[in-house]
Symmetry: D3
């Protein structure tokens, strides 16, 4: 019934079963003070042609991550349907209100889209959008590509992200897709098993899943954008949805890493964070990772931070100002392949 409810309440201006290229939106009803009978228009595009898998490409899950949405917009405008074998469904700005506001979370209900899957067709806006994707789009799909960057608070090495598969076959497919992306590294991230992310939800629905982290700091990275443009085409070619020659040759497979339960360096003080190492530096557990300065109390000695795992510096907090509980650094540890 849920899926019926979602479809009934959320009309789309595109026909997902029609061949060719369509650019439109699905309209999530939103009855607000300044617009009683309005909608949140979530942009969606479909390019469909011939036989082949259905690939769902998502950007804008967080509203301050730009490399993915730019890449998807270019594909939507530039791809000739004739060159497609299968179907591409693009949702380049899935959390449309967050994207308009340049915020990680929705300004409407304060919800983080990536902590609310599978959503609720009768819930608030972000949950309704998630329900549409989960209930209406995922059942149409074979592959789900979810393009993230680090957002306003993190700068992360541009990399493919591997969602742990629910079966050995799914896991292998996920790793293969991440490998095809062509980033220098690929990282297994399981979010402690949190089932509320888009990729976890897609994996539960049986799709092959690939994610990314493409720099961050709330800016558009010249390098990460170039990698993202190549990588998405590489994956689509790997899947056979676009011709082989759309891909950029990749010199070598990515180094594989994972985020363990000791990856994150969490601060306990209220101050300003000074990092010591650049992204990619090899570090060891216990090594000095940074300092917290107390700049309104110049007589107070800074406090030291230390890494908690061996590996490379994978991510770094962007804002200098920190408060207790903030994540300052993330260390990625070489991945020992273990089947799920």
């Amino acid at each position: 019934m849920e899926r019926n409810t979602t479809q009934q309440l959320t009309p789309a201006t595109v026909d997902f079963d029609k061949p060719g290229k369509q650019i439109g939106a699905f309209h999530v009803p939103f009855s607000a003070h300044d617009d009683a009978w309005g909608v949140v228009p979530v942009p969606v595009a479909v390019i469909s042609n011939g036989k082949g898998p259905t690939v769902i490409l998502e950007g804008g899950n967080h509203g301050d991550e730009y490399e993915g949405p730019i890449t998807l917009g270019e594909l939507i405008r530039d791809l000739d349907p004739a060159s497609v074998s299968g179907r591409l469904i693009f949702i380049p700005a899935i959390n449309q209100p967050a994207v308009m506001a340049a915020q990680r979370v929705s300004p409407i209900d304060g919800i983080n889209m990536n902590r609310t899957f599978p959503g609720d067709p009768l819930g608030t806006t972000t949950r309704q959008i998630a329900a549409f994707v989960n209930d209406v789009l995922f059942p149409m799909g074979d592959v789900f590509i979810d393009l993230h960057s680090g957002g306003s608070s993190l700068d992360i090495i541009p990399s493919a992200v591997i969602e742990p598969g629910k079966s050995p076959e799914q896991h292998e497919a996920n790793v293969a897709a991440a490998t095809a992306f062509g980033a220098p590294i690929a990282v297994v991230i399981d979010n402690r098993g949190d089932p509320r992310t888009a990729t976890a939800s897609a994996a539960l629905a049986g799709l092959t899943v690939i994610g990314t982290e493409m720099a961050g700091g709330g800016t558009v990275s010249i390098d990460a954008l170039a990698l993202c443009r190549r990588g998405v085409r590489n994956v689509l070619a790997h899947l056979g949805v676009v011709p082989r020659h759309f891909a950029t040759p990749v010199e070598k497979p990515p180094a594989l890493f994972e985020l363990t339960s000791r990856a994150h360096v969490i601060v306990e003080d209220d101050g300003v964070f000074e990092p010591i190492h650049r992204l990619g530096t090899e570090v060891r557990a216990g090594e000095l990772a940074g300092r917290i300065h107390f700049i309104t109390q110049p007589g107070r000695k800074p406090v030291d931070l230390h890494y908690r795992a061996d590996g490379i510096v994978y991510g770094r907090r962007q804002p200098g100002r920190v408060r207790p509980g903030n994540c300052c650094l993330v260390v990625a540890t070489p991945y020992e392949s273990k089947k799920p």
Copy 2:
């Protein structure tokens, strides 16, 4: 009378005429809903010894610029008064409320400290702080060092900034101090003659003035912090306030640039900004500078931005999201020395 009013209303916990090292604050009265008889405690430190000039060192004029305050805090804690010849007055977090909030402008009155000099002893908090610096500290000083970074919205090449002098002698002294700093480049910035900056106010008061721009993006830059640590010591040694050996040898004088009236690339659209060139790239007026993407309207073609001056890319907007009037890029043009 103004100066008297300022001194009377704003007691300091340090004695500016006492030798040795003192760390304290000046207390700007602030009668707020949750603290009727409270103060804004602006940290201040004095290190004084023997004969020599009085140098005023300011950080935290904007609350989201960190390299300067960290550097000043280290000097305050590490410098032995015995090694000083003259007097150092540190205000490492001058806009204390903004620093606590990690905001460019004060959360109390919404005022940008660097657009409110010479302040007003009977005005709102930011104006009262500026009045204290202008009315009480500037008359004690010979040199004013104002350490800025790009802040949350800009990433800028770490560089010394030259305030145009009000006389040839002052201008020369400003250039010499900026040269001593030891950054690869130094840039003359006149803010269209806006008299409301701290440096303009100090120059009007007759002090030798030097500023900086130390990266930005609201983060702490490893490289810029290293340069700032060296540069401030270099300037102090140049002024003779600390021994020569405190300075780091500088290989060659900085290349000199200026910001002309065509330096800024202003956006007219509401979208996401993609830059084309890294900081430091040489560019020419009319060249493609970036694109504005409309990521919630994937069918809409991006709009191109173009440079308006020849020179190097000196600064770049950090947040990807832009609205009409935002400054996306700043080009620094080689400086043709002209005496004021």
Copy 3:
């Protein structure tokens, strides 16, 4: 158990089973920062006498719609219990916090009362109020009258609203009640089957249901208020709860319309909306409906809007300023009676 929970947590200062007139409130517990053991007092009145149906009259479901609450307040003050046959339960300002704030949605939890039925006795305030109405009041009732206006964002032709019945009998009763109201038109509105409105919830509970839309724009309309005053009395007389002579003779039955899935004209641009036709004008799908002006970009050509259905202009957006997704116009289409 839910109903027990609601009753237990939400005491009322009136006795619903007592004859005569009582004016009081039900107290929804609300433990807030500035009132740890306080309540939200939702006004309620009961006028009960002899035999006859129980009619529940609701106003203030949205806090910026006034014709209904004014009409109910007058009935509460003016009606002599001796003239009543049955029981009238008035909730003239059901979303009391929204009414106090003059907002469509509750300032406490941001929830739209008309998208949260059947509520939750352990949820936030708006959901607790809905649960009280659904769990405690609906089981007492035979008929539910829900008086809406267009609110701050819409101006709507004053009209009766027909909730689709869950059975042919219920549907017929709903149409008969709407006909008795005596507005020039009556409109079937199904909200795409959304089960979360007060009227949908009442219909599910088996009550006869009638709604209204009484102008709007956040103001009190002289004409709509006059119609509302007459219409509510007409319906009560039709139901036999007040004497026949309380009714105003109605010249002819209302023209019947419905809102189809193509009723709404949704804007895709960010600008200012200029309408072309007055409310009530007959229009056709494809006809020019309005223009979007870009008044901060005077060189940019306006964008045209077009109707998507044949019928009459039933509603119009009040605020000139629009953003993508806003509903600018609503077209009501002549209703072809179909039993549910």
Copy 4:
């Protein structure tokens, strides 16, 4: 010096002395947290040709009044410079930040543009914009046309507004221009002599001045927009800046009214306002003007409001919700011409 300061700090992208049509902006520097070196781009257009007076046309002084800006935008796009004799300077959205936000006052500094003239070139944004208009544009002008509507809170009879002249000649010229506009009525409004409005400032600068009030309620009125389109062309033809045939023949001169010190009906209670009469109704001092309902206290009797002057109902509060001090009604009294 002020004027020099304004010009120096606020570059314009148009050349006011160049013939032909130019559309651009003047850039008010705005150094905010999310845009350190940005500007507020206030749109400006110039159409200049041959000999003739310079007319300054302003819209968007309040950001929620639309008939004026729409009319000016159409003139900017449609007017052929060849048909102009003199110079037209358009500022169709003078309070650009307020227009973007659809607010009466600026979201940047909370200032009402029409209570801040002559502005301050070193003040906050709204004051800087006012200073540019006052210091740079007014000295170029012969005539100032300021197009207002009632805004979000008032609905006003579409009418010309006569600024009291500072000399008999100026007053006569103002009346003549208002007469030429062609509205059914024209009203002398002196704002109790408040010198801070744009029109008062222009009058002080010696310009002929004409204003309007064009309906309101925060919406775009079909009728008022039609009148505004005709009226502005009529005035320009009257001034000889566009050919006579651009004007629409006006059947009879406007009835003249004024707002006396007893024009406004101010509410003392906290409730919901019900008006009794439509705009234009003739009323007398002491007559019942409206009622204040207490819809969350249905047992409480409404309070009556009474008019305080004889005349016609000229304006009416749009939002139903009122609090003490709100203006509910405005009565315009027939004007007995008195030279200033």
Copy 5:
């Protein structure tokens, strides 16, 4: 499964099964705009030694109640594990974000921690914290001590609070623990049976439960803090977890009271509340309890408030300003013991 989810998502830095003293936190994942991979660090301490019951001590359920957290912090720092027989688990600032903000409710999700038990491991932050306490800690515990004060809005007689037991044995144990606390009075408070409080949830889980109300007004009371320090030690000695001599001899058992359904005096007007009696005064139903003044309408007569129950004035509203629905006074009625 819920408990597994909670544990998996919420790592603790202490080992609850380890003897000795540990001070750490449990980390509730919180992915916010300014900290994508951060946590809310909820402080927790464990002191464990030998055999004996496990006592869970909670403070900071509301963020503006201080006597409990101060007392718990002192115990954490001062208690020698060697003097403990059993295990003490301290959560001195359970709603850490509310404590940091000095607010009753969480600034993150607006939720009152004491109206959200048993929480939800996949809900918003406050619900995740409650789930951790309910799912992970309560199963470890034998006794639960929940230290409240009146908070910003209430001043309450320092007293022990008795949670009604779910069985005669549990009730007796709760009364015995409250008696041991040693306050002059103890009050049975059942919150109308609301199951969402921490103590109700603990009682449902089978723990012995004791609560407190320790003055309030958002301040730290010298007397209440002294009582709290003694009382908590008294209870721990009573339970045998610390030696008998840690207790302060109590002269006589507390007088027992309860809050009946007529305990609260709720205001219906918008004004300023003047109380008549001090806390502890004996009063009778119908007696004058206070006045509501209308200080912006000095001509309006104050409105009288009356008590609704016999007993003593147990609590009083702190803020003078009141709005309809606020609780002004709370009367505690002598308790007639009745087994549940």
Copy 6:
């Protein structure tokens, strides 16, 4: 001219020169988004009869201080004009917007009324109100009584406050009036000479001035209200404006104190403040005054606070939560009379 401007822009509904009792308001024009032509109605009352001085009585200068406004409202309602010799002008809620909001400062412009005198007739609302009082009322007055309490953030010993006179005669008159008030203590408070308070402004205008501090904590104190009711009548009788028998006999003159520059104990940490002594306790400089607890860091040792002056504890911070710069305690020192 200023005074003329004020009078012209700010009409009053009372005639200050008319005998008898009038209750009305002065209307400060306020053109806001939701009320374009509205006013801020500041309540004012006049009771005038026969010969005698004009006494201006002010309450509500801060919106969260209630004893004064309640006392003034009672006098306005209860005083028979026949018993008055002279004129009483009451402004019981001078900062009307702050009083409505129960905030120290105005919610309109964020300004503290008591830091903005003499105001500005063309400034924002709070400054316009101050200008009316300073420019229109003070010139009518002989005596100014300004009734303060401690407000939300401070609890202060109920006491008369002596404004230092500008001449020996004025000072003597101020002391005599404060003595007549009949509080146990009277305190000379000079605010470091800040000229922006209402009392400083009145003193500059030549009026005899008396102030009060009447408890605080944002509540209504039973004791302070009783004292305030007596004290104001005592002063009026002392001035001969009401008959001698209106006064309550005072047993002994107040002990005189002053606030020296070392009166305030300012906190440097971010935590929770525990006081050690009750109000009125005699203390000495250097003595332990309180502790700052860090309740989210239970392992961290509290920080001690110390008094800085000898005297009695005159005021104490109400909110437990403190941040650097907050005033925790105020010590009043025995006053050594010195003529100004």
